[in-house]
């Protein structure tokens, strides 16, 4: 057994961490936070040049062909740095959907552009309140065109294309749902930016009016692909969350060592120490669940659905827990705009919702465990 990343993968992590520390300091994140730019374009290009965008894309489609373990390593660093780029929407959602369901031609067309940073993609799934469910998909697909409204769509306002879940039948079953690729710059598509709790990553509303759509995967297989994409993205996003949790813990620890109150560093007060110890515990449990998810993802194991749900729940909890207590450790300072604590707090709470909220994954986990037990 070797339940750890390899030395090469760890080296890649160091490289990514170093690169992001230089190219994506909090100052750069704040450019986006303050609304000056919708995302960090230079960073996006840089990530492409480093080979990070195509790390899990096969070489024949313009990627680095490394694999999903490597992508997990990068994801963690993106989360640590709060990178304000459409990485998760493009790489975990759009690229994975195409990898799973795309024809050779579609892969040839989109994956190299993703790897080179020339195309931003996203998944258009949600239509208002509620968790992922075939019933909630109302956008229709008919005669090669889509009609309806998707919201929220992560990075929708800056994306070049979207993988869209639409209703192509009326049987009331999962098999009504099919997937399509839509060029968001073409006619029949209207995009509107929405404000959201995480100011460093955009959300949008996309309206389709007879928008041309190209089928992705077999008709009626859409929901099964969506489920697979969400599972994979859940593992990858969980690594981002663990990266964020770790960084929030580190910030809290560092502040606790520096800040003096009552003549002592506040980190010598047990209430503060124990709060930080609990942050460490939740981050560690999440990291271990994530490693299991990474193993399942990279080997495409039958355990992936269960492992993904466990990683997702535990990483969501850890990031929220660490981000909120990081502010508490910082006291009033933590509540100011100038300190970075709120950026992690915002991100923690936004990513907790993006792929289906906790209640969705809790339900999924128990469902999957139960099926496995019955089998």
């Amino acid at each position: 057994m070797n339940f750890d990343f390899s030395d090469e993968q760890k080296q890649m992590r160091d490289e990514a961490r170093k690169y992001l520390a230089e190219q994506c300091p909090p100052k750069a994140v704040r450019e986006v936070l303050d609304g000056k730019v919708p995302y960090d374009k230079a960073l996006w290009k840089g990530l492409a040049e480093m080979g990070f965008l195509g790390v899990a894309i096969p070489e024949k489609f313009g990627g680095a062909g490394a694999g999903h373990l490597e992508l997990c390593v990068i994801a963690e660093e993106m989360g640590r740095a709060l990178a304000p780029v459409p990485f998760s929407s493009t790489v975990y959602l759009a690229a994975e959907a195409i990898l799973i369901a795309g024809s050779d031609m579609q892969k040839q067309k989109w994956l190299p552009k993703i790897a080179s940073g020339d195309a931003i993609g996203t998944l258009a799934l949600f239509e208002g309140k509620g968790n992922p469910s075939p019933k909630a998909v109302k956008v229709t697909a008919n005669g090669g065109v889509l009609n309806g409204v998707k919201k929220p769509v992560a990075d929708g306002a800056i994306a070049d294309f979207a993988v869209v879940a639409a209703r192509a039948g009326s049987s009331g079953r999962e098999s009504d749902i099919s997937l399509f690729i839509v060029d968001l710059k073409a006619g029949g598509v209207a995009v509107k930016s929405l404000t959201n709790i995480d100011l460093t990553r955009g959300q949008a509303e996309i309206t389709f009016k007879d928008a041309k759509a190209e089928p992705l995967g077999a008709a009626g297989e859409g929901w099964s692909v969506i489920t697979q994409v969400l599972d994979r993205a859940a593992v990858l996003m969980a690594f981002e969350q663990v990266g964020g949790a770790d960084r929030a813990l580190e910030m809290g620890r560092d502040y606790a060592l520096d800040r003096i109150a009552f003549g002592r560093p506040i980190g010598s007060f047990q209430a503060v120490k124990h709060m930080l110890a609990d942050m460490y515990v939740s981050a560690t449990l999440a990291r271990s669940n994530c490693y299991y998810g990474a193993w399942a993802l990279s080997t495409n194991a039958g355990e992936l659905p269960e492992a993904a749900a466990a990683a997702r729940i535990s990483a969501t909890q850890a990031f929220q827990h660490c981000a909120k207590n990081n502010i508490q450790v910082h006291g009033g300072m933590g509540f100011t705009w100038e300190f970075d604590c709120h950026m992690y707090y915002r991100r923690a709470n936004a990513v907790a919702l993006g792929l289906g909220s906790l209640s969705y994954w809790e339900d999924a986990l128990i469902d999957r465990m139960r099926k496995k037990n019955a089998a």
């Binding site: 057994m1 930080l276 465990m369």
Partner: protein, 415 residues
């Protein structure tokens, strides 16, 4: 990243599996499996005898104390082989509970500090379960603060004379030997005046009085020492260096990484799978599922944390303080899980007569044992201190008694 055995590990596993299949006391398998947490009891059999017989059988065939050197009764196995053994031994491993302190703490301390002749004399019968050992550290005045202990050891010729009292000594009532931490100099700061010994529990002047626990069981004891004589040759480490010796013992506690700590989750999951509530199966209830999911990820998080630790061990890294989290997380989890399992049964959850014992009794046993788990081997608070100080590098607690001679330290909070 993989879970695969290397060819060598696979061969070891096959050998262990075959031997266990041929030799384990299978008549108790079912009972041991069900007795998961709380208390292990065997109907119509003396558990101590069954456990000793199984341990002896293992020792004779070379499967006892796997990681110990062969000359002391072990097998010289790698850490990973030890884990493979634990996985294969499965429910029969529960029979080892009375040997844990001896094997996990006393043995390693003897190995580090006893003379060669003593090691060859005392360690093999400890490994084989013929002799049981206990750890005499805690006292009424020194639990978390071990160094606050007051049991005196005074040198008389070639012997030491011991007077005082220990408490919470697990298994003292069936132990043959014990390692004993004493105060040899009350005029210096508390950590600087301690000395460690090992002794025969049958020595004149040793009196063991069982304590009835909150759970109703009696697993631990008070131990009184009245003019007990220990030869100087049974001193472990230097005079007044007992604190360092005890740190070795406590450090070794962490080495006993298991293939998984008990959390109560599998029991709760099974229970919810079978329980019918007013509005249908419990497992289909949203609120139940949300609770289950939260505990599921804690249990899996602990499981994979221990696998990461085992991987590190097998690369030759030493187990660090980060391994403290297992007990910390599992202790309160068992408590919460058990509380919830009883809650789901409504008023009937409180019953535990023979006809109800299967379900309620099982979770009640967990509930009543859990407080002990959160205290023994370092309380939750001490575990958090360890993580904060040794993993995260935060400052140590302020120690007002650190440089004060022991006999000048106040002994009561309120005068």
């Amino acid at each position: 990243m993989n879970f695969d055995d290397t060819p060598q590990e696979a061969a070891f596993r096959a050998e262990a599996k075959a031997w266990i299949a041929a030799n384990a006391p299978k008549q108790y398998e079912d009972e041991l499996r069900k007795a998961s947490l709380g208390r292990v009891q065997l109907k119509g059999a003396n558990i101590l005898e069954v456990a000793k017989a199984w341990q002896k059988k293992k020792a004779d065939a070379g499967w006892a104390c796997l990681h110990w050197p062969k000359e002391y009764g072990g097998r010289g196995s790698s850490p990973i082989e030890r884990v493979i053994w634990q996985q294969e031994e499965g429910p029969f491993g529960r029979l080892s509970s009375m040997f844990i302190i001896g094997h996990g703490m006393c043995g390693p301390t003897m190995m580090a500090f006893a003379g060669e002749e003593q090691k060859r004399k005392y360690l093999p019968p400890l490994a084989s379960g013929e002799k049981v050992w206990c750890q005499l550290f805690s006292e009424p005045a020194g639990g978390s603060d071990v160094a606050g202990l007051r049991t005196r050891a005074e040198k008389q010729g070639d012997e030491w004379v011991i007077n005082g009292q220990k408490i919470w000594t697990s298994g003292a009532h069936y132990s043959d030997y014990g390692i004993l931490l004493t105060r040899t100099d009350p005029n210096v700061a508390k950590h600087k005046g301690l000395t460690m010994f090992f002794l025969d529990m049958k020595s004149p002047g040793v009196e063991v009085r069982p304590i009835k626990q909150a759970s109703g069981a009696s697993d631990f004891n008070e131990v009184y020492f009245t003019d007990v004589r220990i030869p100087d040759s049974q001193r472990l480490g230097n005079v007044n260096d007992g604190w360092n010796v005890s740190l070795t013992t406590l450090m070794n506690e962490r080495m006993s990484i298991g293939a998984g700590v008990a959390t109560g989750f599998p029991e709760l999951f099974d229970f919810c799978n079978s329980l019918m509530l007013e509005d249908g199966p419990a497992i289909e209830n949203r609120a139940v599922r949300a609770k289950l999911a939260n505990w599921a990820v804690k249990a899996s998080g602990l499981k994979y944390t221990s696998m990461r630790a085992i991987s590190a061990l097998s690369r030759g890294e030493r187990p660090g303080p980060e391994n403290s989290i297992g007990k910390l997380v599992a202790g309160s989890m068992i408590q919460d899980v058990a509380t919830y399992a009883l809650d789901l049964q409504g008023a009937a959850g409180a019953l535990n007569g023979p006809e109800d014992a299967e379900v309620a009794g099982k979770f009640q046993a967990m509930l009543l044992r859990a407080p002990g788990t959160r205290v023994e081997g370092g309380t939750d608070e001490i575990m958090r201190n360890i993580i904060a100080e040794r993993v995260l590098g935060l400052p140590g607690d302020i120690r007002v008694d650190k440089d004060v001679p022991f006999n000048k330290i106040p002994t009561k909070g309120r005068a």
